[in-house]
Amino acid sequence: SQTIHQWPATLVQPVGSPLSLECTVEGTSNPNLYWYRQAAGRGLQLLFYSVGIGQISSEVPQNLSASRPQDRQFILSSKKLLLSDSGFYLCAWSVKGRYTGELFFGEGSRLTVL
């Protein structure tokens, strides 16, 4: 069966520090991968999605970036965090080549920027 893991689960970082959140998917190959953010009182905002290794589409201009170094690995990064980067970050995957299917989410990572 397929599973998705993301870490760390919680992170408290000072403003201006770097960020790295990791996500891996097991039990499937060549998935579509996604990063979402849920800010306080807001919905799920799509940040990045990837349909293949090295292929990243950015949805929201900001100081975050994403990379997909391996087929089932998706990384969210920042060189310098802002207060507004605080939120609940969610990695997700879907079956390759389909947009009429479920999106499967990880457990989420809570980021607090102080």
Partner: protein, 114 residues
């Protein structure tokens, strides 16, 4: 530009009664719609979906209705149970070939009163 909207941030319903959650979208290219349930500090879990070729899909206590002409969908939960208390998100996907984005609404917090 909020392409998927949930205009009711919260809803309270008595146990055993019907819960109706609403969602509107603006992009006529969307042709697949999903509902997710989310508890605090957890990833969303899939509930039910509907393709644009249908106007109704049922799964146990959950029914989703789609009105394409009005660009409106709704989730009915009958009967509502206290365990249904959570935040519910609707999502939409579809469009030109190669578009694999899932766009989420802002969520509706459902509280089922015992």
């Amino acid at each position: 530009d909020q392409q998927v909207k949930q205009n009711s941030p919260s809803l309270s319903v008595q146990e055993g009664r019907i819960s109706i959650l609403n969602c509107d979208y603006t992009n006529s290219m969307f042709d697949y719609f999903l509902w997710y349930k989310k508890y605090p500090a957890e990833g969303p879990t899939f509930l039910i979906s509907i393709s644009s070729i249908k106007d109704k899909n049922e799964d146990g206590r959950f029914t989703v209705f789609l009105n394409k002409s009005a660009k409106h969908l709704s989730l009915h939960i009958v009967p509502s149970q206290p365990g249904d208390s959570a935040v519910y998100f609707c999502a939409a996907s579809g469009g030109p070939s190669g578009t694999y984005k899932y766009i989420f609404g802002t969520g509706t917090r459902l509280k089922v009163l015992a």
